[in-house]
C-alpha cells in the first residue's frame, strides 16, 4: 500500500515538473495577482500593509483553484484512472497521494514565496512570518476541499467553472481564519493562536473529509 502511495506521489511530482505540467502555474498566477494589486491601489503603504494578508490569501486561494480541475480529469481522460482503480491500495490512498503531490507543487511554493511577495504589499517582518505560517497550515485545507470538487467534476468536459462554484463556499471559512490569524500576528485584540488553531483544525478536518469524499465521488462517477 505504501509502495503504491509512493509510486503515485513520485509520478505526479514528475509530471508536474515536466514541460506542460502544472508545477509552476499556480505560483505564477499567485505572483500575477499580488503584483497587480499594488499598481491598482496606488502607493499607499499603510493601506497596502493593512490589506496585504487578505490579498495574499485571496491570491493563494485562486492559485490553488486554478489547476485543480485537472487533478483527476487528466487521469480520467487518458485512462490512467482505470489503472489507478486496480491497485491493492484503496481509492482513498490514491486520492491522498494525488492531493499531497498537488499541494507540494502548489500550496507549499505559495507559502514559501509569501515573504518575497509580502514586500510588494509592504508587510512587516512579523506579518511575513505569519503569512508563511498561515499559508503553510491553511493551503492543505483548500487543496483537500478542492479535491472533492475535482473528483466530482472529473468526467465533465469543462469542469473548471463548476468546480469553482462547488468548492468556493466551503473554502470561505479557511479564508476567514487564515486572514484573521495573519492579521492577529501584527496586532489586534485576539491572540494569534486562536484563529491559527482553528485554521489547523480546518485543515485536519478537510484532510479526512476531502480524502474520503473525493474517493467516494470517484467511485460513484463510473
Amino acid at each position: 500500500m505504501l509502495r503504491s502511495f509512493n509510486a503515485l506521489l513520485v509520478r505526479d511530482l514528475k509530471l508536474a515538473a515536466r514541460v506542460g505540467g502544472s508545477g509552476v502555474m499556480g505560483l505564477i498566477f499567485f505572483l500575477m495577482i499580488v503584483t497587480l494589486i499594488p499598481f491598482a491601489l496606488g502607493p499607499d503603504l499603510n493601506l497596502l500593509s493593512r490589506i496585504g494578508p487578505a490579498i495574499l490569501w485571496i491570491a493563494a486561494l485562486l492559485a490553488t483553484l486554478i489547476g485543480l480541475d485537472r487533478l483527476f480529469q487528466a487521469d480520467q481522460e487518458d485512462g490512467s484512472l482505470d489503472l489507478l482503480r486496480l491497485s491493492h491500495a484503496p481509492l482513498e490512498i490514491v486520492v491522498l497521494a494525488k492531493v499531497i503531490a498537488y499541494w507540494l507543487v502548489t500550496g507549499l511554493p505559495l507559502a514559501l514565496a509569501a515573504p518575497f511577495l509580502g514586500f510588494l504589499v509592504a508587510l512587516s517582518p512579523e506579518a511575513m512570518l505569519a503569512m508563511v505560517a498561515t499559508l503553510m497550515v491553511g493551503t492543505p485545507a483548500l487543496t483537500f476541499i478542492g479535491a472533492v470538487g475535482a473528483a466530482l467534476t472529473s468526467s465533465l468536459r469543462r469542469g473548471g467553472l463548476i468546480l469553482a462554484i462547488l468548492v468556493l463556499p466551503f473554502m470561505i471559512p479557511t479564508l476567514i481564519f487564515g486572514v484573521s490569524a495573519a492579521n492577529a500576528a501584527v496586532g489586534g485584540t485576539i491572540p494569534f493562536m486562536t484563529p491559527f488553531l482553528v485554521l489547523m483544525a480546518l485543515s485536519l478536518i478537510a484532510a479526512v473529509v476531502g480524502t474520503v469524499g473525493a474517493a467516494a465521488a470517484l467511485r460513484s462517477g463510473e
Binding site: K14, G79, L83, E222
Partner: protein
C-alpha cells in the same frame, strides 16, 4: 482461480445493452468476445474490471486468496493509460510499483514488445501502435492472473500482433486467464468465444426519434429491478424507452 459470470446484464443510460451473458474462465483459458460495434463488448469488460455495475447477474471469483477482482486483473482499454510527458520506461516503472506483485523490469518488458530502443522517449513522441505496445508491456511488469484486453490489436502491425499472441499464449501456459474483445481474430489456441448481441429492436419504437425518455414519463417506464427476469420484458405490450437508438453503429 476461477472466474464465473452468471446471467450478466448491462444497462447504460437506462437502456439495456445486453443480457444473459454467462461464462466460466479457468486457469489457462482464454475468452474472445465478439459482436457488432456498440454491442456492449467494452461494457462487459468494464463490468469485469469493476468500472461499471451490472444491472443484474453475478460475477464470482473463487480461490483468489482474499483478493478482490480488480486486484487480480490487468486492464488494457481503448485509452492506453499512459502519461504522455513520462518516458515509456517511467510509465512502466510506475505501473510496476503501483500495481504490486512485480514481474519483469520495465526494460525487459519493453524488450519483449520490441520497443527497447524507445525506453527513454516520452510517450508523446510515440506512434499510436507504439503506445499500444507500451500499454501491452504493462501486462508483463506486474503479475496478475486475469488479463482484460479491449481490442488489443487495434493499431498494431502484423509483427506486433504475433508478439501479442505469443505473450498471451505464454501467460495462459503459466496458468493465466485472458478475456479479450476483438474484431480481428487473435488466433489463440482453444479459445472460448462468446458473441454479444444487442436486444432486437422492437418494431413499434421507431417513431420515438431515438431520444431517451426520463424515468417517470409515460405509463411503460416502470424501472426494472435487478432481479427482474429479462425475458419477460420481451413480451411487454408497450415499447420500452427509446430503443430506437439501438440500431446505430
Amino acid at each position: 482461480m476461477r472466474l464465473s459470470v452468471n446471467n450478466l446484464a448491462c444497462e447504460r443510460g437506462e437502456r439495456r445493452i445486453f443480457q444473459g451473458v454467462s461464462f466460466t474462465l479457468l486457469p489457462g483459458e482464454a475468452l474472445v468476445i465478439t459482436g457488432r460495434n456498440g454491442a456492449g463488448k467494452s461494457s462487459l469488460l468494464d463490468i469485469l474490471a469493476g468500472r461499471l455495475h451490472p444491472a443484474s447477474g453475478a460475477i464470482l471469483l473463487d480461490d483468489a486468496d482474499e483478493r478482490t477482482l480488480p486486484e487480480c486483473l490487468h486492464y488494457v482499454g481503448h485509452r492506453d493509460a499512459l502519461k504522455a510527458a513520462l518516458t515509456a520506461e517511467e510509465n512502466l516503472a510506475f505501473a510496476r510499483d503501483f500495481l504490486g506483485n512485480p514481474a519483469l523490469k520495465p526494460r525487459e518488458a519493453l524488450d519483449a514488445v520490441g520497443l527497447a530502443h524507445a525506453a527513454r522517449l516520452p510517450v508523446a513522441y510515440l506512434s499510436a501502435g507504439q503506445r499500444r505496445r507500451v500499454a501491452l508491456a504493462r501486462l508483463l511488469v506486474a503479475h496478475r492472473p486475469l488479463w482484460l484486453l479491449d481490442e488489443p490489436t487495434s493499431a498494431l502491425d502484423t509483427t506486433s500482433q504475433e508478439i501479442l499472441r505469443l505473450i498471451l499464449e505464454s501467460h495462459r501456459e503459466g496458468g493465466g486467464m485472458v478475456a479479450a474483445s476483438t474484431h480481428s481474430p487473435l488466433f489463440l489456441k482453444d479459445a472460448k468465444e462468446i458473441r454479444i448481441e444487442r436486444n432486437p429492436l422492437p418494431p413499434s419504437s421507431a417513431g420515438e426519434g431515438g431520444e431517451r425518455s426520463g424515468p417517470g414519463e409515460g405509463p411503460s417506464l416502470i424501472e426494472l429491478g435487478p432481479s427482474h427476469d429479462p425475458r419477460s420484458r420481451q413480451g411487454h405490450p408497450l415499447p420500452q424507452r427509446g430503443e430506437g437508438k439501438a440500431g446505430e453503429g
